[in-house]
């Protein structure tokens, strides 16, 4: 979906269409992500989860360890995730309708492929926090990170001829990004340990 929303992908329709589309994508995805985070925290609250307990921190640490092991092994460990992708056919609906649907779908987190295992660590922390505000912020931040490449599109992708090969080129970054993903989960857990066990 990202390549469809980069400037070359919408250039034929004008700069205004691009701006409206990426805004619609970001806002709809943010709404969906914040809602998912809030629901996860609610589940945690109902199950009496707590990050300030040693058990909660141990679970967060175990999730981070599993996520890191999976990514540092090059993705050899299976990742529990839906096989589904967001529908490219929605592009036929025109912009910004397609962008809104992509945002809602991808922002819903559990409805499409997750790519890296760190996503499960994030979901686990949201549940364990049992804090609706924190979990909603957590998922809001995750979504804004996910939508950021679309906003950087004009700087990253300067030529429409690149678009067909863009996804392939970016997939070449996967090995390095796996390493960073593991570091983010482990680093985030270290921060939780400092905050909640201090």
């Amino acid at each position: 979906m990202l390549t469809a929303l980069t400037p070359p992908g919408t250039a034929a329709q004008g700069r205004r269409v691009w701006l409206v589309s990426v805004t619609a994508y970001t806002v709809s995805g943010l709404a969906a992500s914040v809602a998912v985070g809030a629901v996860l925290a609610l589940i945690g609250r109902l199950s009496s989860a707590s990050l300030s307990s040693s058990a909660g921190l141990a679970i967060a640490g175990a999730l981070a360890g599993l996520a890191a092991a999976r990514e540092l092994s090059g993705g050899r460990l299976p990742l529990l995730q839906p096989r589904r992708m967001s529908s490219r056919a929605w592009a036929r609906l025109g912009q910004p309708r397609a962008a809104i649907l992509w945002g809602l779908d991808i922002g819903s987190f559990f409805t499409t492929r997750l790519t890296f295992a760190g996503a499960w660590w994030l979901a686990g922390v949201a549940v364990l926090s049992a804090d609706i505000g924190l979990a909603a912020s957590l998922f809001g931040a995750y979504w804004l990170g996910r939508a950021a490449p679309v906003w950087l599109g004009p700087w990253l992708v300067t030529s429409a001829t690149l678009t067909p090969r863009l996804a392939i080129a970016w997939s070449g970054l996967e090995p390095r990004f796996r390493f960073v993903n593991a570091g983010a989960a482990l680093g985030g857990t270290a921060a939780l340990l400092i905050v909640f066990s201090g």
């Binding site: 990050l51 492929r113 957590l138 931040a141 990170g145 490449p149 970016w170 990004f177 680093g187």
Partner: protein
């Protein structure tokens, strides 16, 4: 996101083995530059918030995790 790569491969059969041209290499360099800048900002923000005993310290890594999905296009 991998769907985009699948569509791209279908549309450009020779692309997977193709050597990236200068423009594509520039996109990759810029993407990596942006990633390292985000990583540095995330490390600083996380460390600062954790030092202040704020639970918000977990927010910057969440942003980074979201950004990394770029590689799973």
């Amino acid at each position: 996101m991998r769907q985009d790569a699948a569509h791209a491969r279908a549309a450009v059969p020779s692309a997977p083995g193709a050597v990236p041209d200068a423009a594509l290499a520039r996109v990759l360099r810029r993407t990596l530059r942006a990633t390292w800048a985000i990583l540095a900002a995330v490390v600083i923000a996380t460390a600062g918030l954790a030092a202040g005993a704020s639970a918000l310290a977990v927010i910057p890594p969440a942003f980074l995790l979201g950004w990394l999905n770029l590689a799973g296009l």
